[in-house]
Structures are given as structure tokens and as C-alpha cells.
């Protein structure tokens, strides 16, 4: 069996796809919101250095990624082991070496990878303008970064709408509003300060 077919097989047997989707959206949302918070927070604090924003953003996203990977892997592994034990008791048979056992171990790893990668990817996408800050001003990079973060939030909401077969636009707007609320709160801080 080819490598990709094997992965598809494990995903199907372990039924990890819906869990993976949940982890992806939850953590990509976290990643985008954290980036948004760092970018606007730096703007509120004064003249931000692009390198400072990139470092803070990457540091936060890597911490989220590592914590996401370990947290999801350990949790999923415990749940899957429990399920496998219960199935083994019903079958009166050791299933560790069967395809179900392999799929179960794969599912824990898969959940960890998705949980770990999604916030890092979302945060990096939001910080992209600062990587090109030598091309344009920091103010423009900040604005672009905010727009990208809000767009990422909208797309995550739209994806939620798609998988729930509901209105994609409406779900996109819901998550976009959360980002807008954060933006407004931080901008209010700036005007007060």
C-alpha cells in the first residue's frame, strides 16, 4: 500500500478527520488572534520594530504550536488507548499490531501535528507583511497584517459554515466580528493612552 493510501486508510479507520478539523479551526483561530493581538498591541505601544513583531509573533506561535502538539497528542493517545483496550476486551484479542492499533497510534500523532501546525501557520500568514517591511513602511505592514488576520478569521468561519452546511458568509462574519472586537478594544486603549 502506498504511503498516502495508508494515511487515508488510517484517517478513515480511526475517524480522526472531524477531530482534526476541530483542532485545526480552534488552533488556527488562536494563532490568528494572537498575531492580531501582538501586531495591534505593538502599534498601541508606539513605533513598533518589524523584527520585534516578527520575533514576538513567531515566539508566541511556536509556543502555541509546541503546547498544541504535546497537549493534543497526549490527550488523544490516552483516549485512543482506552478505546482500543475496550475493543480488545470485546474481541478477547490483542489489537496492537492490527491495522486498528496502527490507525489508533497514527490518529494521536495526526491530531498532535494538526494541533501544533495550525496556530503556527495562521500566525506566520498574518505576519507575512512584516517579512517584507523593507519594501514598505511599518504602518502599512501593520495595516496589511491586520487585514490578513481578519481575512484568515473570516476564512476559518466560512470553512466552519461549509462543513456544517450552513451559510458560509454568515459564519465568516461571526469570526471576523471577534477579530474586529479585539481590534477595537486595543485601539480604544491607544486613544486612552
Amino acid at each position: 500500500m502506498k504511503f498516502l493510501d495508508k494515511i487515508k486508510d488510517y484517517i478513515r479507520i480511526s475517524r480522526v478527520a472531524p477531530i482534526g478539523r476541530r483542532y485545526f479551526i480552534m488552533n488556527a483561530f488562536d494563532g490568528a488572534m494572537t498575531s492580531l493581538g501582538i501586531v495591534i498591541g505593538a502599534y498601541v505601544a508606539g513605533d513598533p520594530e518589524p523584527l520585534f513583531i516578527i520575533s514576538a509573533g513567531l515566539g508566541a506561535s511556536l509556543a502555541m504550536g509546541l503546547s498544541g502538539f504535546v497537549g493534543a497528542y497526549v490527550t488523544e493517545e490516552a483516549e485512543r488507548s482506552r478505546e482500543l483496550d475496550s475493543l480488545e476486551r470485546s474481541m478477547l484479542k490483542d489489537l496492537e499490531k492490527s491495522r486498528i492499533g496502527e490507525a489508533s497510534r497514527f490518529a494521536s500523532l495526526w491530531a498532535g501535528i494538526i494541533d501544533g501546525l495550525s496556530p503556527v501557520l495562521a500566525a506566520i500568514v498574518c505576519l507575512v507583511p512584516f517579512f517584507f517591511s523593507f519594501l514598505f513602511s511599518v504602518a502599512l505592514a501593520t495595516e496589511l497584517s491586520i487585514v490578513i488576520a481578519l481575512l484568515v478569521l473570516f476564512m476559518l468561519g466560512a470553512f466552519l459554515g461549509k462543513i456544517s452546511s450552513r451559510n458560509m458568509f454568515l459564519h465568516g462574519i461571526k469570526l471576523l466580528c471577534v477579530g474586529l472586537v479585539l481590534t477595537l478594544i486595543l485601539l480604544v486603549f491607544r486613544s486612552i493612552g
Binding site: I13, L87, S90, M91, L95, K97, S98, R99, I100, G101
Partner: protein, 98 residues
């Protein structure tokens, strides 16, 4: 040279019988597969698997089923040789029923 094999198998719900039949039909010497579910429990199910072919390798079938998490409960019928011999009724069967 096994031509027909009837097995009583206990298996988890996943993989289902559609996938199981596909996997078994891909084995060397197997030409046809029939799987019937006759009992479903909360976590497992009992199925009757009938394999037909020109040279079924029992060890390969057993290995495949085990890799899919299934367990053979019993081998209920085997037909081997150049011609498939069907089961025939005998007076003893009748007296046994009485």
C-alpha cells in the same frame, strides 16, 4: 488446493464488510467473496465469510483477517480438490434432529 472456505469471524465494526470483502478478494487464489453479518453487538459483529477460488491460501486469509483486527471463531466448511463436493444429507442428520 482449497476451493471453498466458510469462516465464522468476529470483527470490530471498523473496517466494515465492504472493505473487508475488497481486501479478501485481492488475495492470491481468491476469486470471489461473500460476507454476511448475522449478529451485531455494541462494539463487535459476527460475520460469515464465504471464499471461493482455485487455490485459497488459508494462512494468508487468516493473516489478512488478523491484520484487520478480526478473529476466526471457526472454520465451518472447506472444499478442496479439483472438484467442489457439496454437503449431502444423510439419515444420521435426520435422526440427530429427532
Amino acid at each position: 488446493m482449497i476451493r471453498r472456505l466458510v469462516l465464522d469471524v468476529l470483527k470490530p465494526h471498523n473496517p466494515g464488510i465492504v472493505e473487508l470483502s475488497n481486501e479478501l478478494s485481492e488475495l492470491d487464489g481468491v476469486e470471489g467473496v461473500n460476507i454476511v453479518t448475522y449478529e451485531i453487538d455494541q462494539r463487535v459483529e459476527n460475520v460469515k465469510i464465504i471464499l471461493g477460488g482455485n487455490n485459497i491460501n488459508f494462512e494468508e486469509v487468516k493473516k489478512k483477517l488478523e491484520s484487520l483486527g478480526a478473529a476466526i471463531h471457526s472454520v465451518d466448511e472447506v472444499a478442496a480438490g479439483t472438484r467442489i463436493v457439496e454437503e449431502v444429507g444423510t439419515p444420521q442428520d435426520k435422526s440427530a434432529r429427532l
